[in-house]
Symmetry: C2
Subunit: 222 residues, 2 copies
């Protein structure tokens, strides 16, 4: 628990590793982990491919390291930090999230969320999928903390809904709707205002009325 945990190592080996990871970060973020080959990362980083495989035995490990770095930079360094400077109260910070998203969507370099992309295209149950789901859970936990700090009822429920609005806005922006964050913020404000008035029976799982089977519709997928 020393405070020297994240001291940046300056050894030759560590520097090389960082060069690889830095190139992977840029490429994976812009083009996705599946479309970027190891040779491309080797060329961009200026590190020989053999050295790359010396550090990370397989591409999968490089992807896992990328996920950690992405969470450190995006979730912590950008989202959490940005929200703190834009809102004084937890409630204001919850809403400020969508202002951040809006600026992100307007950025020319916006290419969607790598976490969501990986969730879509990686096999369920694979190490990469599991690790990515954890990173998304980390974000949702942060939302839950904000909701709890504001004494909102069912903070975890609000967090999961907030997460869906965020992810939905990101998908919508990726599909071309650059105003998605603004629309999401409108709805979020309305929802937040109403959330206290309707505890929504946080414990009971909201009865899904099951019909007495009308027409046995064919399943849409698979």
């Amino acid at each position: 628990m020393s405070d020297l945990d994240d001291v940046i190592p300056t050894g030759r080996r560590a520097v090389t590793r960082q060069k690889i990871l830095e190139a992977a970060y840029t490429l994976f973020t812009a083009q996705g982990v599946n479309l970027v080959g190891v040779d491309t990362i080797s060329a961009r980083s200026g590190v020989a491919k053999m050295t790359l495989y010396h550090h990370f035995h397989a591409k999968e490990n490089l992807v896992l390291a990328y996920l950690d770095l992405r969470a450190k930079r995006w979730t912590v360094g950008w989202l959490k930090a940005g929200v703190k400077t834009r809102g004084a109260t937890p409630r204001a910070r919850l809403l400020a999230i969508f202002d951040l998203l809006h600026e992100w969507f307007e950025d020319e370099g916006f290419e969607g969320c790598p976490f969501l992309r990986i969730i879509c295209e990686s096999d369920v149950g694979s190490p990469v999928h599991k690790a990515t789901a954890l990173k998304l859970g980390q974000i949702e936990n942060f939302l839950g903390q904000l909701a709890r700090s504001d004494n909102l009822p069912d903070p975890n429920g609000l967090a999961s809904v907030w997460m869906m609005l965020m992810d939905g806005a990101i998908m919508s922006a990726r599909a071309g709707r650059k105003d998605a964050a603004l629309k999401a913020k409108q709805a979020a404000a309305v929802l937040l205002d109403a959330w206290g008035r309707k505890p929504a029976k946080s414990g009971s799982p909201a009865p899904v009325k099951r019909r007495a089977k009308a027409a046995p519709k064919r399943k849409p997928s698979r």
Copy 2:
């Protein structure tokens, strides 16, 4: 405008084309359009690869045809039709969407939404990306019709928010949260109830308070 438009042709050529499309539908839906090769579709359909390229000159055209078929079966045949049998009023149908999603998520064959997956992994501006965005827009238009039928204020605004909740729920379910649709329905009910009371200034774009720049945070992506 004859009502013989979707008569199923029985010619040899049309039957072969349908066999290809049927195999592509199953494979693309389960594994994604990028991971499924043309040889796999040829093998599964029992149609020679040369014949496949005789019908669809390139894989991209097969993907575009798949998108049309997916919209016909999922959006129209499953979502629209399912909602109609489960809700009498437009408002009930809007909420019933999440019951449908819940059943979908619980299906063992649930592999996420192909539309969202393609939006994530295809290049922005490519024909496939554009076509997929249109299919998502078709869904949002349907939501707007329901909202308008219920005399809700700013029906298009509600539709885009509804879409985000749906997409967010799908992403959450893909990440392992099988109860996503239930949580989304709770929030949707609260939101719908409050939507009328707060017209939310449908015209004005909800002022995004821009701060007097505190710390010039580095951009997170690219």
